[in-house]
């Protein structure tokens, strides 16, 4: 069994009457890249800060590399954090920012300098060592923040939305760079983001949080293919999943969608007559010729073309989003016929939102 680097057992966090984290159980094996993802206010940052020790735990236990650290102050946890604002020391040069933690540990200046220069080489900061943070661009500051974490060789890296202040192109580039550094250092990383694409592309293990609770955790594709509930299905994947109300037929072998002209989908295993919500991913709606048996004709209201992909929004209730490769075959106002593969439809209980698995 792989060694667990960070373990949380039923961690609770209260702010007065507000219950920010509810019984969080999480086990992070050494060398894993874990993403904590969820909408604003879901508790992902609080969870990260709790692991860091910047927030005190109200209940439960936290172990780092096997040792109980539930009440240990941050400076004794040997974790490094990269802040959203970078939190570089403005009165220190890049070199001093990098060596600060080493000098506090009593490492001699020459050795600290040598380590800082090594990290500067890895992160591409060699030419900037004598500059002050105010003289750096956003991307360079981001690298300094990463370098400051790397130089310590900590038990784990904690990232708090570190790329959210960068422009889109740089963000994509840094995404790959952060992951490469993680692999190169053989590090254990916990990465907070509100961007599910970032979580899916970077992480080995994604934890979806909502209202202080873990909704589902697992490998990125597992979350995409088998979401545990409607929330996860809607949160993972871009553009977001379409949800259509429907009902299981009396014989229990098909689902009737509540859309005009919609065919019955042959899906068995659900309770007959039960109201359900069907999740249809925009990329799973396949355009077809109008005469195809089982085709669903949809009036198109909006066409958003990006060049490589087109997003069509239909004039139905509820409106559906369709994701097509290349250009749209129909203009806005036209009608597009699509087929739905029953095997790709996700079914959820209409009341609880929990996934119904055949």
């Amino acid at each position: 069994m792989t060694q667990l680097q960070i373990e949380l057992d039923g961690v609770d966090k209260h702010y007065g009457a507000y219950h920010a984290l509810k019984g969080i159980d999480l086990a992070i094996p050494k060398g894993t890249f874990v993403a904590l993802v969820g909408p604003s206010g879901c508790g992902k940052s609080t969870l990260l800060r709790t692991i860091a020790g910047l927030e005190k735990v109200s209940g439960g236990a936290l172990r780092i590399a096997g040792a109980n650290m539930t009440g240990t102050p941050p400076r004794k946890r040997d974790l490094a954090m990269v802040f959203q604002s970078y939190a570089l020391y403005p009165h220190k040069t890049v070199r001093q920012n990098l060596t600060y933690s080493l000098r506090l540990k009593g490492i001699p200046r020459a050795e600290a300098d040598r380590k800082a220069e090594e990290v500067a080489r890895i992160t591409g900061l060699e030419a900037l060592l004598e500059r002050y943070p105010r003289e750096l661009s956003g991307g360079q500051r981001q690298r300094v923040a990463m370098g400051r974490a790397i130089v310590r060789n900590p038990k784990a890296f904690l990232f708090d939305e570190p790329l959210s202040n960068l422009d889109a192109a740089l963000r994509v580039q840094m995404r790959a760079e952060v992951r490469r550094l993680h692999d190169r250092l053989g590090a254990t990383s916990v990465y907070v983001t509100h961007d599910q694409v970032e979580a899916m592309t970077m992480a080995d293990h994604v934890v979806v949080l909502r209202a202080g609770r873990i909704e589902q955790q697992g490998a990125p594709m597992e979350l995409y293919d088998r979401p545990a509930n409607q929330f996860v299905a809607g949160f993972i994947g871009s553009p977001a999943t379409n949800f259509v109300p429907g009902r299981v037929t009396a014989d229990g072998h098909a689902v009737h969608l509540d859309l005009p002209g919609a065919p019955c989908l042959a899906i068995s295993g659900a309770t007959p007559g039960r109201p359900v919500t069907a999740g249809l991913r925009p990329e799973h709606l396949q355009p077809c010729d109008p005469g195809t048996p089982g085709a669903l004709a949809l009036p198109v209201a909006v066409v958003e073309a990006t060049g490589s992909q087109s997003f069509l929004v239909t004039d139905t209730d509820p409106a559906l989003t369709i994701c097509l490769a290349g250009r749209s075959p129909v203009p806005p106002g036209g009608t597009l016929s699509v087929t739905i593969d029953p095997g790709q439809v996700m079914l959820f209980d209409a009341d609880s939102g929990d996934a119904l698995r055949p």
Binding site: L54, R75, M81, F83, S85, Y89, P90, H91, R148
Partner: protein
């Protein structure tokens, strides 16, 4: 390339429209400020400098046509027998007031940063000293410090710290320190507020980053707080020194510089020479010397604020 039309304020010609929203209005604003400075700041300074080079007494005060005596007034002030004592008193007064105000103000500012319930209300109460007229503060402190029936002696005796009354204001060994105590009380709120603003400006995540980097509380204070407060510390030290050199009311209210100059300082001596002994030329000399010193300090202050940190 086609030339862009000039904005109206840069076009030649002058009109009423130009005065209201064009360059004319800017000129008017600048002239108003310059006029104010010339009449109320520059002219008194120059007039003071001229008087320091003249023989001015009660009879020649009204006329500008007074005999110039060169640097005689300067020689007389510098060689005055009370000069060394008063200069020394001034140095003690400024250094003790400013350093103790700073230490107390900084300690209080750090204390109120803890954000306990009622912190901002209590911090507001500290401003009381700042909004009271210094002459009133002087009168109150003269009651507190009074030898026979003062509340300070009463408190010290009740606590068993002293056996006999201390004559704070009339004992030459203590009179200067009495004024210093009152002045510290008066100056702490200014230090507290300015340093509180500086502390509030340091982002919380810098402390958190330092904490993650392994810094203890004391190390965070020494390596994060102090260096980032450099501009504010420079400001309160230089402004505090200037305010302390301006402190006149407390001397008037407490000791009048006595007994026998034991609590006299330059600014009060200047007033005594000018308005009690009517040796206005001599009084002006002290003013000129103090202005020179303050200008030097102001230069340091301006330099210290120029290097403010950008986060």
């Amino acid at each position: 390339m086609q030339a862009l039309p000039l904005p109206r304020s840069l076009r030649p010609g002058f009109s009423l429209g130009g005065l209201i929203d064009g360059r004319g209005f800017d000129t008017l604003l600048v002239l108003t400020a310059l006029g104010y400075l010339a009449v109320f700041s520059a002219w008194p300074l120059v007039y003071n400098l001229i008087m320091s080079l003249q023989e001015v007494d009660l009879f020649s005060l009204a006329s500008f046509d007074r005999p110039f005596v060169g640097l005689d007034n300067y020689r007389e002030v510098i060689s005055a027998p009370e000069m060394p004592q008063i200069l020394g008193n001034t140095a003690v007064f400024v250094i003790a007031s400013v350093s103790l105000q700073l230490v107390l103000g900084f300690a209080l500012a750090l204390f109120f940063e803890l954000r306990f319930p009622g912190a901002s209300f209590l911090r507001g109460l500290f401003l009381a000293g700042w909004i009271m007229p210094p002459l009133v503060v002087g009168a109150i402190w003269s009651w507190i410090l009074a030898g026979d029936f003062g509340v300070l002696n009463y408190a010290l005796k009740s606590l068993g710290i002293i056996d006999e009354n201390i004559f704070w204001l009339s004992d030459p060994a203590r009179s200067l320190w009495s004024v210093i105590i009152a002045n510290i009380w008066l100056g702490v709120p200014f230090n507290l507020i300015l340093l509180s603003v500086g502390l509030a400006g340091i982002p919380e995540d810098l402390y958190e980053a330092a904490e993650m980097d392994g810094a203890t509380r004391v190390q965070r204070f020494l390596t994060i707080t102090l260096p980032l407060m450099r501009a504010q510390l420079g400001a309160v030290i230089s402004l505090g020194t200037i305010f302390t050199l301006q402190q006149f009311d407390l001397f008037a209210g407490l000791t009048q510089g006595g007994p026998s100059n034991s609590s006299n300082v330059m600014q009060y001596w200047s007033w005594q020479l000018s308005f009690q002994e009517y040796q206005i030329g001599l009084g002006s000399v002290i003013s000129v010397l103090m202005i020179g010193f303050v200008i030097g300090l102001a230069a340091i202050y301006v330099r210290s604020t120029r290097h403010e940190q950008v986060y």
